[in-house]
């Protein structure tokens, strides 16, 4: 039996084992990939449980190592552990070392990521049962985990970029997992293309960093931050934020995330709730020392964050697909996180990242169970009263609902959301003095909307009368244990996860905040002293707003369902806009996509095919024909000419012999 004590002996030279965290999922991915390949070529016959065992085993073992390392690290959090793996690039004075760094931020992240990933792997074993691509799925999932961990543990922007690209690529593979249906493949394409557009910004940022500082290493950059002026820092930060906007689905690059619901639900839970989309927030947090030099960039991030939060929440109000509602909810909550890091309160952003990861994963997995129970139905208008029939899943979902709305004080995301709002109000902005109030108000409205649409969802799905098809109802069943227990566990944890950051204002220890504070201390703007005392008041306000949202939704959908129909009519034209998701997709299609397609057609048609292929081939053919025509003259059949050749040849021979 492998006991933790055995492990402790191994980790005496503790940082030497950091590579395990990254290597275990990679090993799982490779192994699963190989087995899938072999079984598809009928060389081996692999039972599905083998794939699941390898996949889950890799994730769980990675979690165990992370947990162990993190607990050891916690004792001395101000000394980051660095493991130098190998020298990746050495070119003159340019030197990139492939190193893994475990500091307070990355430590928290790896535990969070691996824990969620392990639970989701277990859930997937049940969800994907019977699917043809079972082995492929687990291979991709492990690969994704590997990329994400590499991203988190990177000590270097370039290594981070490797993981960044890796997660983008894996999301493409997993979104388009059931690619036989073209729509799914299209969704995968959309995801990776928009990610790529963001990556252009990332690369621009990389190049500028290199041009100014000559290095990509975070520690070196921190030491050399004087090379960045305000203007250059602003541009760089904005570029990186563009990349983060692509990855974390902010305006204007969010349109891939709703479409990404085409993938399997556990994928949505892992990638689009808990891990990949948080990479953007992580990046901004990691580059905190740059953002502190660029108030404009931070301000823009905060504004975009709150706008996205409002925007997505408004769309979620009228969505009818359970997964799409959760998708827009994710975008909205990510907006919150960016609001947090935008006002340089990196701890609150990361705090909300963690709580959100837990409750959103719980919600997605529970939604997956619901869909599974209803044999594939995803439209909430065709659901209802499921609490009686699938109690365990429903309770798990309800736990997640409590967490996201913050309806019960101290539970779920209550503290994290509140901290963001408070910091948004309390941090003065040097550029727009009135901005904090606007941000706070916007966040409050978004909280209201969140409470409203989530409650709408819960009521329409779990309460009231069943409105769906009869034969679906006949087959309604609770999911197998391997699916329900992760949901329930996540639900419970999401309720209490908020307790790692109980704010000091109401007497809490704020463990997370204190843990992360040394890292972010210099980059966090000092908050208004007056507002600090207001914190309990603000907490009460946000709780009231949540209650308002829940209550209104309960009234509109639960008690008097006719009210909801009136509401729809009253909203009228606005509803059309919301239904059409503000027509953003259509706008992009008409402008950017059409432009890109025209250029692509021009290049491939006129330029490449017309010019290069056709003209070039024609010219070379003509050239060769002419050449051969000229060469043909040698052999015309005239005997005299042959005599000339003989004479000339003989002369040449003699000449050579003589000399």
């Amino acid at each position: 039996m492998l006991k933790l004590e055995h492990f402790q002996n191994f980790t005496d030279v503790h940082s030497d084992w950091l590579w395990l965290i990254v290597a275990l999922p990679l090993l799982g991915a490779v192994l699963n990939g190989l087995l899938t390949l072999l079984s598809s070529r009928k060389v081996l016959s692999v039972k599905p449980w083998v794939y699941a065992a390898i996949g889950c085993g890799a994730a769980i073992s990675s979690f165990v190592v992370s947990w162990e390392m993190f607990s050891q690290f916690k004792q001395n959090p101000n000394n980051p552990w660095v493991q130098e793996l190998f020298n990746w690039i050495e070119s003159g004075t340019f030197h990139v070392a492939f190193n893994l760094e475990l500091n307070s931020l990355s430590g928290v992240m790896i535990v969070f990521v691996t824990f969620l990933a392990s639970l989701i792997h277990l859930y997937s074993a049940g969800y994907m049962k019977g699917d043809e691509g079972f082995g492929r799925y687990f291979s991709y999932l492990n690969l994704f985990l590997f990329s994400m961990l590499m991203l988190v543990l990177a000590q270097d922007l370039l290594v981070l970029f490797l993981g960044w690209e890796g997660v983008g690529f894996c999301s493409y593979l997993l979104i388009g997992f059931w690619f036989e249906d073209v729509a799914n493949a299209e969704a995968g394409k959309k995801a990776i293309i928009l990610n790529r557009i963001g990556d252009a910004g990332f690369i621009a940022g990389l190049l500028m960093v290199f041009a100014l500082a000559g290095t990509f290493n975070f520690n070196d950059l921190l030491g050399h931050k004087q090379v960045f002026t305000e203007v250059t820092a602003t541009i760089i930060c904005f570029c990186f934020f563009f990349g983060a906007a692509g990855k974390s689905a902010q305006i204007p690059l969010y349109v891939w995330l709703p479409d990404a619901m085409a993938g399997p639900t556990p994928v949505s839970a892992l990638i689009h709730a808990a891990t990949m989309v948080t990479a953007g927030v992580y990046l901004v947090a990691r580059l905190h020392f740059l953002y502190v030099l660029a108030p404009w960039a931070s301000t823009i991030i905060a504004i975009i964050g709150v706008l996205t939060a409002l925007f997505a929440a408004s769309i979620a109000l009228v969505q009818n697909d359970i997964k799409k509602i959760l998708a827009y909810s994710t975008i909205s909550q990510l907006g919150y996180m960016f609001l947090g890091v935008g006002v340089t309160s990196y701890e609150s952003g990361i705090f909300h990242l963690i709580t959100h990861g837990f409750f959103k994963a719980c919600l997605f997995l529970a939604a997956g169970s619901v869909i599974h129970a209803l044999s594939g139905e995803q439209d909430i208008r065709k659901m209802g009263g499921l609490l009686k029939h699938i109690p365990l899943t429903s309770v798990g979902f309800l736990f997640g609902w409590i967490a996201i709305t913050g309806i019960v004080p101290t539970l779920g995301g209550f503290f994290s959301k509140d901290e963001i709002l408070w910091k948004a109000l309390a941090t003065p902005n040097s550029i727009f003095p009135f901005l904090p109030q606007i941000l706070y108000f916007g966040g409050l409205v978004a909280a209201f909307l969140t409470a409203f649409y989530m409650t709408r969802l819960v009521i329409l799905v779990f309460f009231g009368k069943y409105r769906g098809e009869h034969d679906v109802f006949e087959h309604i069943h609770e999911s197998p244990a391997i699916m329900t227990w992760p949901v329930f566990l996540l639900g419970l944890l999401s309720l209490f996860i908020g307790w790692i950051g109980v704010p000091a204002a109401i007497g809490g220890a704020d463990e997370l905040g204190k843990f992360l504070d040394p890292l972010f201390h210099l980059s966090t703007l000092e908050s208004n002293a007056l507002s600090r005392s207001l914190e309990p008041t603000l907490m009460a306000v946000s709780w009231l707003v949540a209650c308002l949202g829940v209550g209104l939704a309960w009234y509109a959908y639960g008690i008097k369902s006719a009210v909801s129909k009136n509401l729809a009519q009253w909203l009228g034209g606005l509803k059309k806009v919301l239904d059409g998701k503000y027509f953003v997709d259509e706008f992009y299609q008409a402008t950017v996509v059409r432009f890109a397609k025209t250029i692509a057609r021009w290049v491939s048609g006129w330029l490449i095919e017309g010019l290069l292929v056709n003209r070039l081939v024609e010219l070379s053919i003509q050239g060769i024909t002419r050449l051969s025509g000229a060469a043909k003259q040698v052999q015309l059949g005239f005997v005299r000419v042959y005599l000339v050749y003989i004479a000339a040849g003989a002369a040449l021979l003699i000449y050579l012999l003589v000399h």
Binding site: A647, A648, A651, I654, Y655, V658
Partner: protein, 167 residues
């Protein structure tokens, strides 16, 4: 002095006859000039104390081969009009001569010859006579001599077969 004189006359004759030959339209004229060239050549052989060779030149070459050629020309009975398209174009003749002179002649005349000093050797008394030739043939070159007779035989048979109306 006389020697030089004779040489130059004969050499000039030879060259002139040669040039004439390659520019003739009528093959009979060509053959005639050829005979004249052979005559001059025979004279040159005489100056080189190759008495037997010069006689053979007249007998065999001029008297045998050229007669054969003339016979065949007459056999084919060409009309003057047929000869028209086969005229020697002066332009090409000049071009050919120039080409040959520059590539073959010029190197030989300018570079090779001046560097070699050949001198006439002291000759044994019967040099160039039939006796001396006979001695040489029947001692060192007996085998090629026999083979030569076979070659001639083959040539005769081959010519017969080639020229037959029906095989």
């Amino acid at each position: 002095m006389l020697e030089a004189f004779v040489f130059y006359i004969l050499a000039a004759a030879l060259v002139i006859f040669g040039l004439l030959m390659i520019t003739r339209t009528n093959p009979i004229s060509g053959a005639m000039t050829m005979v004249g060239a052979f005559g001059a050549l025979a004279g040159l052989y005489a100056t080189l104390t190759a008495s037997f060779v010069s006689i053979i030149q007249i007998l065999v070459y001029a008297g045998g081969i050229m007669v054969l050629v003339i016979f065949v020309i007459m056999l084919l009975n060409m009309h003057p009009d047929d000869l028209e398209p086969m005229k020697a174009r002066p332009f090409w003749v000049v071009v050919a001569l120039l080409a040959v002179s520059t590539t073959i002649l010029a190197p030989i005349l300018c570079c090779v010859l001046p560097n070699k000093d050949f001198t006439w050797a002291a000759l044994m008394p019967g040099f160039g006579t039939l006796t001396a030739v006979g001695e040489k043939i029947f001692s060192d070159f007996i085998f090629p001599f026999e083979v030569l007779s076979l070659i001639l035989l083959t040539a005769v048979i081959g010519a017969l077969i080639m020229a037959k109306r029906k095989l």
